[in-house]
């Protein structure tokens, strides 16, 4: 099953939209500045709709089935969120209109800031960052600015466990700091001995994902916090895995100084095929003044009948703006809707069931798939996708074969500390029936790996395309197609 490219179905002279005629006198166009040709396709509306519908049919998605992609929290995205974000007062308000005419938006943003503070135990929140990695960069810049404001310019190192997401070291480098990798211990915790040995006055902070990418809650969290704070460093929390902690523990209460949220993971905003996300940043009290600008504040208190007046405010020693305007507002509306419908009780149930589901899968699979750090996990766990009796089979083959059973594969080859890693995060929205069907598929695949390995190595067999040649894609780069006519001209020339 393949779909032609949009340029391949273009027919010269065809139009997709009727636009009004000019109701004003025409002005002279600046002839020296006009483009000679506009190489866009020519399609009718029905061509466009069928083309993109055709493409949609080649995707797997949460709305189609189970999507246990570890560390991505692919939970169900409530439909009401989409309706809320499309309400005209939200969707058609201009970011630069006077705040006194945007009080609905500002109320929503203010409340969401307050709720995220309450959920996380942080003292201040900025909603501006657009994604988790953007929030990380923002958080690291805040830590840097804090140290420098105290004349502490020697702190150039950011410590990062070997189980961390790649975005942590990449964000550190972008901020002009040096990423130092720390090992994990035999139980999957951050290795305390290594941490103690390196903590000194050159350390700006540690970026910790807790629960980490093995799905494990760090058993030494109190010691880690103590160690860092004693040497004057700060603790950064990567909130990618916050789903496991809602109502269970507030990172701020355990001593985290900075935390980013992924609204598109924890708070059910859809992943959109790779964004838009939203990565608000929360900070402890001593860092509030360094948050990006703007944040939403109360600029005039309300009375008994009057609501307060909300406005944009700039923190005193802000690191500056990290994007234009005020954040991925449409995602904020969705997250607000979700939290408003869950309340404190509902959020606790989210974490409860995310963790229940993960442990249920772990226990049902562990006889067949080696679980290298086999203890109570939180929202996800990692297994090894390899067996001595099936030497030709790799984790990737298991993933591809899962597609034939109608499932999205887990995250492959991450974290890097587990060989042939398969990282499984079921989320709370999946039923026992779905989990059992997934286990059945994985057990069957394990059997096939011994008896018919070619079923795995040749998989997928039922997908729109079979395995794709990634080396060819990188070596013979084709990143763009041109209009057919232009291509013909170029070939003739």
């Amino acid at each position: 099953m393949t779909e032609p490219l949009v340029y391949e179905i273009s027919v010269p002279g065809r139009e997709g939209v009727a636009l009004p005629t000019t109701d004003v006198p025409e002005s002279k166009l600046p002839s020296h500045l006009l483009r000679a040709d506009l190489p866009l396709p020519e399609l009718s509306e029905v061509d466009v709709v069928r083309h993109f519908l055709g493409l949609s049919q080649m995707n797997y998605a949460v709305d189609k089935g189970f999507y246990p992609l570890g560390s991505c929290t692919m939970k169900y995205n409530p439909k009401v969120n989409e309706d809320a974000a499309r309400l005209p007062g939200f969707a058609f308000s201009h970011p630069l209109q006077d705040p006194s005419f945007s009080q609905g938006n500002l109320t929503l943003m203010y409340e969401l800031q307050e709720w995220l503070k309450e959920i996380s135990g942080m003292a201040g929140v900025c909603l501006q960052p657009s994604a988790g990695a953007h929030g990380e960069f923002t958080g690291v810049m805040i830590m840097r600015a804090y140290h420098r404001s105290r004349g502490d310019t020697k702190r150039t190192k950011i410590l990062i466990p070997d189980s961390a997401h790649g975005t942590n070291p990449a964000s550190t480098t972008m901020a002009g700091l040096q990423a130092i990798e720390l090992p994990s211990d035999a139980r999957g915790n951050l290795d305390l001995k290594s941490l103690r040995a390196i903590c000194d006055q050159t350390v700006a902070g540690l970026m910790l994902t807790n629960p980490n990418t093995l799905g494990l809650f760090d058993e030494n969290i109190e010691e880690i916090v103590k160690c860092l704070h004693q040497c004057g460093a700060l603790l950064y929390g990567d909130g990618a895995n916050l789903n496991a902690l809602l109502g269970i523990v507030r990172p701020g209460d355990t001593g985290f100084d900075v935390l980013h949220f992924n609204l598109h993971k924890t708070f059910s905003t859809p992943h959109g095929g790779g964004g838009p996300g939203s990565g608000p940043v929360g900070v402890a009290k001593r860092l509030i003044d360094f948050l990006p600008t703007p944040i939403v504040g109360i600029v005039a208190p309300g009375g008994e009948e009057e609501p307060p007046l909300y406005g944009f405010v700039t923190p005193k020693r802000t690191i500056g703006r990290v994007k234009a305007f005020h954040g991925n507002f449409g995602m904020l509306v969705r997250a607000y809707t979700y939290i408003r419908m869950q309340g404190a009780r509902g959020l606790r149930e989210v974490a409860n069931h995310a963790v229940l589901n993960a442990n249920y899968l772990r226990v049902r699979l562990r006889e067949t798939y080696h679980v290298p750090y086999d203890r109570l996990c939180k929202h996800e766990f990692v297994v090894e996708g390899k067996w001595e009796q099936a030497p030709g089979v790799r984790a990737l083959d298991i993933s591809k074969r899962l597609m034939d059973f109608g499932f999205h594969p887990p995250t492959n080859y991450f974290p890097l500390i587990v060989p042939e890693a398969l990282m499984i995060e079921p989320t709370e929205t999946e039923s026992k029936q779905t989990l059992d069907a997934f286990v059945d598929a994985l057990l069957k695949i394990a059997e096939e790996a011994r008896t018919h390995p070619e079923l795995l190595t040749g998989a997928p067999h039922n997908a729109p395309v079979s395995r794709l040649d990634e080396v060819r894609a990188a070596k013979q780069l084709v990143l763009c197609c041109r209009p057919v006519s232009l291509k013909a001209d170029q070939e003739a020339a």
Binding site: L38, V80, S130, G132, H134, M174, G273, K323, L479, C480
Partner: protein
């Protein structure tokens, strides 16, 4: 419980399989004194109550469907064909994630490839990535590309008429990097700003230390100038030129790629994405093939499957954080996937004829508005030469006062107060006109400002 399917009996069975009595036992590793906090959140609402509350909140906002809008300044009120939202609401697209597993993500991958192609062709460049967060962060990424590509040079020259918030974001992004940003010192007054924004003035400030020059086309004030001579002098000094542009303007105007730009980037919101109070938007980014390995952001490439059928995959991931970690070209992971789909559907449906037509409507209506407004007593048009979308009007009173009058008395959302960013430009209003503004809207603005003027506003 919304969105959690477990029955009591299933929970019991699952706990028994795990070998614990209660769910609470699953959290035994969390320090006891901080375990299970009481969260002070409002009581939960049902779906019907929640949507009612949200409707009330949304209705407390002014919105551009019921108010004539003359506000732009980086976010534009354009027509969005119905098909765009219908495609975006396909669960197959919006509930998928980054296409890490290409065999079951061909829909997203091909749509991204088509988006890259449409942007490449629109900007006149050779390659485009699969998006940044918005126009501002795309501009900051152009700085990072230039610093990696043009080694040992530390100066970035910004046009003073580059979007003020983009200039702020660039400065935030490079705080930790040894680099000098300049060229956009606050102008004394309007003539000073106009003079220093001109291409020849920018060109005269490029030297052997300059890595990158960033110009905007049309610039923040709406003015359009051929940047070919600027590109030539920038290249003579061994530096790069990035051009921030508006994609609707490129329906009509010569693309920056034809003028010699090395990077063409900007805000893709005008391409089928609602204003949505500032986001989610779309940072587009196009460059030359030679710089592709230094470019950040996800990239989709064409390849073949095992049967020789065409297919698409994420490619050149060796640049990226999940492979290169601390040595990656950027930290980007989640970007604006669904917004690229909006832009791809919009550009496909508008097509060759439609986009040109939208751009012409914007051009004619903006020029008509400028012409009419220049005749209102007390107001003067200070924009010279061709402009697109926007022009600058010098006003007799503070802009905040005029805008308050326009909203209260006429239900018109007035233009942008340039005094917010340029202390030398108090009383200067940046007015945006798109195809959405009817002649009636424009004539209404003219009449309203005439009334303001007659009430003593012009004194």
């Amino acid at each position: 419980m919304p969105y959690i399917p477990h029955t009591d009996q299933e929970r019991e069975t699952m706990l028994a399989v795990i070998g614990v009595q209660t769910i609470d036992e699953l959290f035994a590793d969390v320090p006891l004194q901080v375990r299970f906090p009481r969260l002070d959140l409002p009581e939960p609402l049902s779906e019907m109550e929640a949507i009612r509350e949200l409707r009330d909140l949304s209705e407390a906002n002014l919105e551009t469907q019921h108010t004539a809008c003359f506000l732009g300044a980086g976010a534009y009120n354009h027509f969005i064909p119905s098909a765009v939202q219908h495609i975006l609401l396909r669960g197959e697209f919006y509930t998928a994630y980054t296409p890490y597993q290409p065999e079951i993500s061909q829909g997203t991958l091909q749509a991204l490839f088509e988006y890259q192609s449409l942007i490449t062709n629109l900007t006149g460049m050779e390659v485009a990535n699969a998006s940044h967060y918005d126009g501002a962060t795309a501009t900051a990424e152009a700085v990072i590309l230039a610093l990696n590509q043009v080694r040992h040079r530390k100066k970035i020259l910004l046009s003073p008429s580059l979007h003020p918030q983009y200039r702020e974001v660039v400065r935030t992004y490079v705080q930790g990097v040894d680099v000098e940003i300049g060229g956009d010192e606050p102008p004394r007054d309007w003539p000073d700003l106009q003079e220093r924004s001109r291409a020849d003035s920018l060109a005269s400030r490029v030297d052997e230390e300059t890595a990158l020059v960033i110009a905007q086309y049309p610039n923040f004030l709406g003015e359009v100038e051929d940047l070919t001579p600027l590109a030539e002098s920038v290249h003579r000094k061994g530096a790069l030129l990035a051009v921030v542009t508006n994609p609707i303007a490129l329906g009509l105007l010569k693309p920056p790629g034809e003028m010699g730009a090395d990077v063409v980037c900007g805000e893709g919101q005008p391409l089928g994405i609602p204003l949505s109070f500032g986001g989610p938007y779309l940072g587009f980014f196009a460059t030359r093939q030679a710089f592709v390995h230094k470019m950040s952001g996800r990239l989709v490439g064409q390849t073949q499957d095992a049967q020789g059928r065409r297919g698409f995959v994420l490619t050149l991931s060796a640049r990226e954080q999940h492979i290169k970690r601390a040595r990656a070209s950027s930290n980007i992971c989640t970007n604006q996937g669904l917004m690229t789909l909006a832009a791809a559907v919009y550009l496909s449906q508008m097509g060759k004829q439609g986009l040109r037509r939208v751009a012409e409507l914007c051009y004619h209506k903006a020029h008509y508005a400028a012409e009419q407004l220049s005749r209102v007593a007390g107001f003067s048009l200070v924009s010279r030469g061709p402009f697109f979308h926007e022009f600058v009007l010098r006003c007799p009173k503070p802009i905040a006062e005029i805008n308050r009058f326009l909203l209260d008395e006429w239900d018109i959302l007035g233009g942008y107060d340039l005094g917010r960013d340029f202390p030398g430009l108090r009383d200067h209003m940046l007015i945006a006109v798109t195809e959405m503004n009817t002649r009636e809207d424009i004539d209404g603005l003219v009449t309203a400002l005439g009334e303001f003027s007659g009430k003593g506003g012009a004194k």
